[in-house]
Point group: C2
Chain length 417, copies 2
């Protein structure tokens, strides 16, 4: 092969001049950038959001993968329909009926490339620029990123130990109604919230649904951690109470099988699924079929139900270790949530401490966390942080919390002094 | 679990009232809807765009999948970086250097969820509403769909047997320049085009690059069929001639491994890749890692290079059968392309015949095709169709073409009479 004979103009290309206005505004996720730094050092990272690889059911996956290739290669390796691999969709519908008492007849299921894709699709399908969307304060960082592209007006409603302050939401809805504004979507990570670890109480779930009917909005219920309960009583998803199709439920295999398959699902009213399906056609044609076929056998043959207790058994001591260490090491004035499940504890430091500025000193002491600011759409809380307890072993968690407490004590002195 | 005690208002929900303006404009792909109809009958379908499952290297995939799970489960089942699984990115860079003489030092590679995702990302990263984008006439249907969401001004440039009429493009660029408009992107399926089957000549490739420098645009070169050459001399990709980073090359494993993994890649200047990477973060976090790990071993261990000749050997007789049958059965006045590779033949009927209207009668005779109209952004050509020759066996292709020729003959009479 010969190179182009006629020499092309050697002027440097101004690549930035090609980007769309929206692309010029896009920023890399701070957390992802931060994690890159931490990865390369010997810092104890409580910053990540990764499941522990020890929880991946590797032998089961191997068995299933071979079965899928021996029995279903033609379909599992081919393009699939946009709505998803039908046997998996059916298996999930049955599983949700059995597990959450959500009647199969009331929902349609579409599979997606991880629930992150569902968040992007929700932005695409529902949000006009300027549309008000309600999120929790704090809320899932990547949901902010996904919705932000569609340029909505973010309304954030504070959380407490019982989840979203639905009373404050009601006030806000009333206020917006008076302004002639309509909220279309309320987004909640209802159970073992990311980042706060809290779970919305049953009363609030019911109240939220009542408000949805009264103020005519849809609820997007993101449930990635729902199965990871280490203590306390099970809380049914909001979708369980939803008689009319107000709730779009997002599920994922990332925490109950493995994230590497990128398989999530949406369970919602067929009318909504139909539009999301059309939107997905032009985005990626279909979700990876091979992963869907594996997920299908995993659910259908009962491996999922067998495996969930093992994940819980693995994570519970880590959650306990973190709560114990916080109790043991943290100085007066520091508060934290006591999650009954999930992956995260949310820590609030005394006012005046900026966890983003403190990060450098924490890393110098050999521990990393995620500064809380980025979890607030208005970036108005500087004194919070998210800690993860699923990725590193108990002893490391304890030592990490000890180092963190030391950093915080010094920071408290610094701020006072 | 108890149902919500306080009965919710039973008013029906007006789901349409929730959709964004753009969502209200979204339509299902006609071709996909059409294929659904055909699937259920015993019609010979020359309409699809699927690779033959017989070409999937199932045994190799099984071997690799087990290896990946035994040796790399921790990484292959975990979240990955947005840019892609590094060993795969490196393997692809080496493979493109060896195969196309594209220096590794000049490109960065990002993996995507099939090249369809790259098309959506390109729209997201480059297109403001109203931005002119050049596509071929006809062009890849799903590219129209992907770009359309971003509301550009489509400029379509006709094809002939040597690919895009670059001379007409030059005229158009000059005209637009006078109007003060700048084309940012020229999109081409350069080799064995979908739907037309034609390949852009080397002279035109070079000329296109010259124009890109002169008029300051980027070329998106979509290369899904590049490896499937059944006759004639290899044509280097436009990217091969690109010394300055004007070309964004899109590759995919869908036709050289299997579509079910949904693994594609983008090879482009690092500055462009960086922005696409940030855009992808909020869309799906990362491409499925398990599929990427399998694709990695497939390239790295030489299975890909071993397998390509087998796919060619399998498809060549089908291509030949279709061209022979067209020669044998088609009446005077019908023209078609003679592809040296790929999956499609493009047929042009006499003016006055509308292939969309004819479809029903073709199906009644037991054959289906894709009416050409949807491949034109302005939908201004009614007398064309796309035929696929990869999915059904030779004898079936011959019989399909015979039935089609019969339909066309009757249609010609009907139109004349």
């Amino acid at each position: 092969m010969k190179k182009l004979e006629k020499k092309l103009s050697a002027e440097p290309i101004n690549f930035d001049s090609f980007f769309s206005e929206k692309a010029m505004l896009m920023k890399a996720s701070e957390v992802r950038e931060l994690l890159k730094l931490v990865e390369t050092s010997d810092v104890i990272s409580l910053a990540g959001g990764l499941p522990a690889p020890e929880t991946f059911p590797v032998e089961t996956i191997k068995k299933i993968a071979v079965e899928v290739l021996e029995e279903h290669a033609d379909k599992a390796l081919q393009y699939g329909t946009t709505k998803g691999f039908t046997p998996l969709r059916l298996a999930l519908a049955r599983w949700m009926e059995k597990r959450y008492d959500i009647p199969m007849s009331k929902v349609e299921i579409m599979t997606v490339a991880g629930s992150q894709q569902a968040l992007d699709l929700i932005g695409r399908v529902f949000l006009n620029p300027g549309d008000p969307i309600v999120v929790e304060a704090p809320t899932y960082l990547a949901a902010i990123q996904a919705f932000k592209y569609y340029d909505p007006e973010f309304i954030s409603i504070p959380l407490d130990d019982k989840g979203m302050r639905v009373d404050l939401l009601e006030e806000k809805l009333e206020e917006l109604r008076k302004q002639g504004k309509r909220v279309k979507i309320v987004y909640t990570v209802s159970t073992f919230q990311n980042p706060a670890g809290v779970t919305m109480s049953v009363d609030r779930r019911k109240k939220l649904l009542e408000l949805a009917n009264e103020y005519d909005f849809l609820i997007v219920e993101d449930g990635p951690y729902s199965e990871l309960r280490y203590s306390g009583e099970p809380t049914p998803p909001i979708k369980h109470f939803d008689d009319y199709g107000r709730v779009i439920y997002l599920g994922t295999f990332s925490k109950i099988l493995a994230p590497g398959f990128r398989i999530g699902w949406v369970a919602a009213h067929p009318h909504l699924i139909r539009k999301m399906e059309i939107a997905k056609q032009s985005i990626d044609l279909c979700t990876n079929t091979f992963g869907q076929a594996i997920a299908w056998k995993y659910v259908e043959n009962g491996y999922l139900d067998e495996h969930i207790p093992k994940i819980i058994e693995f994570y519970k001591p880590r959650r306990d270790a973190m709560l114990e260490a916080l109790e043991e090491y943290m100085p007066e004035g520091v508060e934290w949530t006591k999650p009954e499940g999930g992956m995260f504890v949310w820590v609030t430091l005394p006012e005046g401490i900026d966890t983003k500025l403190m990060m450098e000193r924490a890393v110098a002491k050999g521990v990393a966390y995620v500064p809380g600011e980025a979890f607030f759409v208005h970036r108005d809380k500087k004194n919070t942080m998210r800690l993860n307890f699923t990725y590193v072993p108990e002893e490391t968690i304890r030592e990490g919390v000890r180092r963190l407490a030391e950093t915080i004590k010094e920071e408290m002195k610094r701020v006072k002094g």
